[in-house]
Amino acid sequence: MGNSTQTTSQPPGSPDSQKTPRLRPHLVPLLKLRVWISERFRPTELQITLLWAGLVGFGGALSSLLFRAASNGVHLLITGSDKGLVESFSDMQPWQRFLTPTVGGVLAGATIVFGMRLARQKNSTDYMEAIVLGEGNVPFRSSLVKSGSALFTIATGGSIGREGPLVQLSAMLASLPGRWRKWPPPRRRLIVACGAAAGIASAYNAPISGALFVAEIVLGSVAMESFGPLVFASVVATMTIRQFPSMGGGNPLYGVPPFQLNATWEILPYALLGIIAGIAAPWFLRFLRLCETLFERSRIPTIPRLALGGAIVGSLAIWYPEVAGNGYSSINNILHNVHNEWAWQLLLAIFLCKILATGATFGSGAVGGVFTPTLFVGSGLGYLVGAVFHSLWPQSALTPSAFALVGMGAFLAATTHAPLMAILMVFEVTLDYAIILPLMMGCVIAYYLSIGIEPASIYSESLKRKGARIFDEHLSNLHILDLMKPDPPAVLITAGFEEIAQNFISHHFNYLYVVDAERHFLGVVSLHDIKPYLNEPEMADVIIAEDILREDFPTISPGVPLAQALDKFARHDGERLPVLDETTRKLLGRVSKSDLILAIADRSKTDQTSSRPTAAAS
């Protein structure tokens, strides 16, 4: 659509044959409305991005609903049960418990092997929610293939999280508008990030954590330019999910028994839990990596390897069906274990088996989310620590369930290196404000301890393998050319008033570029200049762009570094600048202030993270 207008203008020459048509009456009120909007609201590209973020949030929620329905459908097809994973595994015969994840592994492996042949991509183990923004293009086919593979692993009880494919699908959908509208990379990245936030938000019914997950883990920045759209996408996604009561409506994901601190000293055991989680978390990460290495060294081909991973989960499920699935229902059992339905010995056994199952699933190369399994490990750890304190001081208010909550947050903070997200995530999925003090304490302690022991977060490896840093480095020497949107709408110097008016109505800019027949830039027509004459339609008969041209409009060259460009924008009140070839002065494109600010925000983040141990870890 960008260059369509250059053809609507009649070519110069044979001027006598040209008749300037009278301004059509319906254009005048439209143009007046356009002036009114531009003066009252002055919509910037960033505000328009916000609208796209909302759309992306909606799309992300729909894809989540679809994926859940699909995984329930596959689960029903393979197991013949429409109950939750742990329940349906409990109902099964031992041989079925063994066979189901094994068959799932074969199907998941086959999907990857044959699917990746179609997508022509190499598969590597990854935690899917560690989405890499790159230039804002999420590959379509390999996203579908990986999500399809994850679908089989999830539906057959693999110890893996649904949130992975939800994030992947949502981000993939989000990358479509950027490609379609040919946005420059910073804005495409932001909108993909919005998709990822919508995926997390709809997986956990937790809009704040959705936005923070992406801000802390994927973007590494809580700058308002990017955080606003993330929040917007998260909220829209959550609101959409809540329209479906089968997804829990507006209820928190995990209902928790009431909790309160009775005495100030009671916070100390939680601080101790933070220390334990902070030390345990790096070992959990190392264990997962060890599993990956062992499976890799075995050199078993993909399909039997995933089948083996499934078989290990299946064998554990023969004794403890609770290991099946992402751990959601087991977390709920732990949190509600007020009356000790699960003795600590049983819980310890389930806890250890679950860790083994998670290692087997991820180690075998199954794709999916590692987030919910991590929540389970954290809550199990917390509960066990709590049980010890409870037995030491039975008369105190120290309930193991509360420890499970704090353990969940502390372990999450320590594995993801995103303490802010962890605090708010636990708060959001439980909506229990009383827990906030011990939770914050535990999360922060665990985070600080863990980064000392293990500089790489759970997602560092995945992000590195997906090439997150390649673009980050590219980002640090961007020029205007990289941010430019090519072929902006422009009119010829001979364009009549009607054509100028049409352009202002169909686009949201305030300055219309004027070029000659070879696309050399001549100046701009300002919407505000024509505003006073909208009541005089007779003007349209004789006015052309040349008559109202502003020739002193600032322009920019494609090779200008970003900082210099920002300086140029500082002296100009418009939202965009035309990009001209330095020697020929041909109009190449336009660059918007919002994209420039996003790129600079991205870059300063990159500078920080490359000096921060987390992202630089190898």
Binding site: P15, S17, T20, P532, E536, E538, V542, I543, I544
Partner: protein, 147 residues
């Protein structure tokens, strides 16, 4: 509003009978009235730019009136000269009876818009054009525009 354009029109800047038959000659003939005006800084350049603008896109408005104009540094203030041709002059397909030559300083595009807007509104009316056709003196001509 109509007074703005009428004030700019002075009896000395009105030519009741254009002799030229050719479009460019006619524009120059009308422009010649203001040749010696103190607001015209560079008459030669004004003429060149008037013709160039009309070459870019015809300045005939579609009802027997043309507004040859130029945004140019060759004038100090907005200036208008008018001419009438009973026989009519061909501006492409259109037969033009009234020519309003307008010069505006480059930075004052707004003045030009006001003048053209006002004149265009007045001249759209068939009655007004009839009155201009019948005007016997430059004074009548101006009164027909600002009754």
């Amino acid at each position: 509003m109509s007074s703005t354009a009428a004030q700019l029109l002075q009896p000395t800047r009105i030519l009741l009978d254009i002799a030229a038959k050719d479009k460019n000659d006619a524009i120059l003939e009308v422009a010649a009235i203001i040749r010696a005006d103190p607001d015209v800084l560079d008459y030669g350049r004004l003429c060149t730019e008037l013709i160039a603008r009309d070459e870019l896109r015809s300045t005939a408005a579609g009802y027997g009136v043309a507004f040859p104009h130029a945004r140019t540094d060759a004038v100090r203030e907005i200036i208008i000269a008018a001419g009438r041709s009973q026989a009519g002059i061909r501006f492409g397909d259109e037969l033009v009876h009234f020519i309003f030559v307008i010069g505006t300083p480059r930075e004052k595009a707004g003045d030009y818009l006001v003048a053209v807007g006002t004149l265009a509104r007045l001249l759209r009316s068939g009655n007004n054009r009839a009155a201009l056709t019948q005007a016997a003196t430059p004074g009548d001509f101006i009164r027909a525009l600002a009754p």
